[in-house]
């Protein structure tokens, strides 16, 4: 059976050139980079080459790169480490409502420890509300963290503009650190830390054709951060623990390849994305694009398909060899509609039918044609058994949900897992 992988926002296939670069570092050059015998120096050289490759992708200095094990770890280090280092200046932190859980749960912990957190809302397309950001800035604000692009709905923020709003605000008195989680952007679209004037940035290998287990935090020279792990000298004491050399070498190679091929790849992927976004609504009625129309990640397609549920959609797609994702409540382990769709104020009932396709450089036009052929059949099949759809076809009306509607009286079971 055909296998079409379209969940590249969660993980990408490794580029074989990356694998080739990694291979010697498992059984041949396995020395600890902190040791000064020859095997150790080879690892140390490889580590520093990778640091240079990663820095070069985002136009940073190699000294500004700290290697970690995942995007989650980088975000934890950034949020908690910067907050801890700057807490004597103030205890106010600003994040957006659509951040990754590693940011949201980090600030949740800080809140329990006495920090105050403001959440900036987004509009219906997932763009940060600039007015709310301006309003949220205070004398005791020390840190702002707003993601570069959203992996679920693809919206790319105007980070440069947001940084300048924060840096130029009259309401503030501290030096405010601006961190951006750029995991879904780096390697896909060009990111330049100097041009953005950003203080800290998270990027990860696993979504840019690199291996799992390697990520980085860029911290601008002079920005204070406290380590979150106590140990040895590694990463200049900012992140102790023996370096995962094979993965870091792979990360470096992934960055080098990305830098060379980013424009070509994003053009190819964007063309495929545009075709799917243009053609699906011609084949399926009552479907709505989630996220930005223009400033959108090249490989991101997120539609809400009315009258059907997202998990059922992706299970039937999986049976056809198409691997996708969904933001529906039933597809989430916590049985809640994705926090991103919720923040965008997407109608809850419609959001249940969200389906997410994220393309990579390995996808082809043939893949897109196969989806265009199979996906409408899957939707039809589920609509044919949907009571919401038969009600709509018979009456021309939608069953609405929420207080004071058709479903006001029996919403009991949905909160069962709270």
């Amino acid at each position: 059976m055909k296998q079409i992988y379209l969940d590249n926002q969660s993980n990408t296939k490794l580029d074989e050139r990356v694998l080739d670069a990694m291979m010697p570092f498992f059984v041949e050059y396995y020395g600890n980079p902190q040791s000064i015998y020859s095997l150790g120096s080879i690892s140390k050289d490889a580590l520093e080459t990778a640091r240079q490759q990663v820095a070069s992708l985002i136009n940073a200095d190699a000294k500004e790169i700290v290697f970690t094990a995942s995007g989650t770890e980088s975000n934890n280090l950034a949020i908690k480490g910067i907050a801890d280092a700057l807490k004597s200046n103030g205890k106010h932190i600003i994040v957006s409502a659509i951040e990754h859980f590693s940011v949201l749960n980090s600030v949740k912990r800080l809140k329990n420890e006495g920090f105050e957190v403001s959440f900036i809302p987004v509009d219906a397309r997932g763009n940060i509300d600039e007015y709310e950001l301006k309003k949220a800035l205070r004398k005791d604000t020390i840190l702002v963290s707003i993601q570069y692009a959203n992996s679920e709905v693809g919206t790319v923020q105007e980070i440069k503009k947001l940084v300048s709003i924060v840096k130029k605000s009259d309401n503030t008195s501290n030096f405010i650190v601006f961190h951006t989680d750029a995991v879904s952007a780096c390697g896909t679209i060009s990111v330049d830390v100097r041009d953005l004037d950003i203080d800290a940035l998270t990027l990860s290998a696993s979504v840019m054709y690199g291996p799992k287990g390697a990520a980085a935090l860029y911290i601008k020279k002079g920005v204070k951060i406290n380590s979150q792990m106590d140990g040895g000298v590694q990463e200049n004491f900012k992140r102790s623990g023996t370096e995962n050399i094979p993965a870091i070498v792979g990360f470096g190679m992934a960055c080098e390849i990305a830098k060379k091929e980013i424009i070509r790849n994003s053009e190819i992927v964007q063309k495929l994305r545009n075709k799917l976004i243009a053609e699906l609504p011609k084949k399926i009625e009552h479907i709505y694009l989630n996220g930005a129309q223009e400033n959108r990640l090249p490989g991101n397609i997120n539609f809400s398909i009315e009258f059907v549920e997202g998990e059922a959609l992706f299970l039937l797609l999986d049976a056809k060899g198409i691997m996708a994702a969904s933001g529906s409540a039933c597809a989430n382990k916590n049985l809640k509609l994705s926090h991103v769709l919720t923040a965008m104020n997407i109608d809850v009932a419609v959001g249940q039918g969200s389906i997410l396709f994220t393309l990579s450089k390995f996808n082809t036009e043939e893949d897109i044609n196969y989806i265009l052929e199979e996906f409408p059949k899957v939707v039809k099949r589920l609509r044919d058994m949907s009571p919401l759809y038969s009600y709509f076809t018979k009456t021309g009306k939608r069953k609405t949900a929420g207080p004071g509607t058709d479903f006001d009286d029996h919403s009991h079971h949905c909160d069962i897992e709270e």
Binding site: E311, A312, L335, Q352, D384, S386
Partner: protein, 125 residues
Amino acid sequence: MPFYSEKVMEHFANPRNVGEIKDADGIGEVGNPVCGDMMTFYIKVKDNKIEDVKFKTFGCGAAIAVSSMVSEMVLGKTIEEVMSLTNADVAKSLGGLPPNKMHCSNLGADALHKAIENYKSKRGK
């Protein structure tokens, strides 16, 4: 291990008794699109037994599999037997459900019980 049991996937992929009954003796609707699942069950009753059953379901894989399984379990059963059907019975017949999907099995039995109440109230008039 796959997320769903083979039995769940089989019922989800080939659901039994999908549809509506125009002159149904009882209709039961439960669920809520906000939670992501909603079921409507239609029954025909003859000699105190379920002569025919059809359903339409909006929901995840588990919700659809539960609907299909419940419809199979109650066909030909007496009203009393159907009323004593529990959510645990349905989940068990499906070879178990993931813990966060157990509420779907509640919906299946609830929808049928509601259809029977609807049948009884119509007959009472």
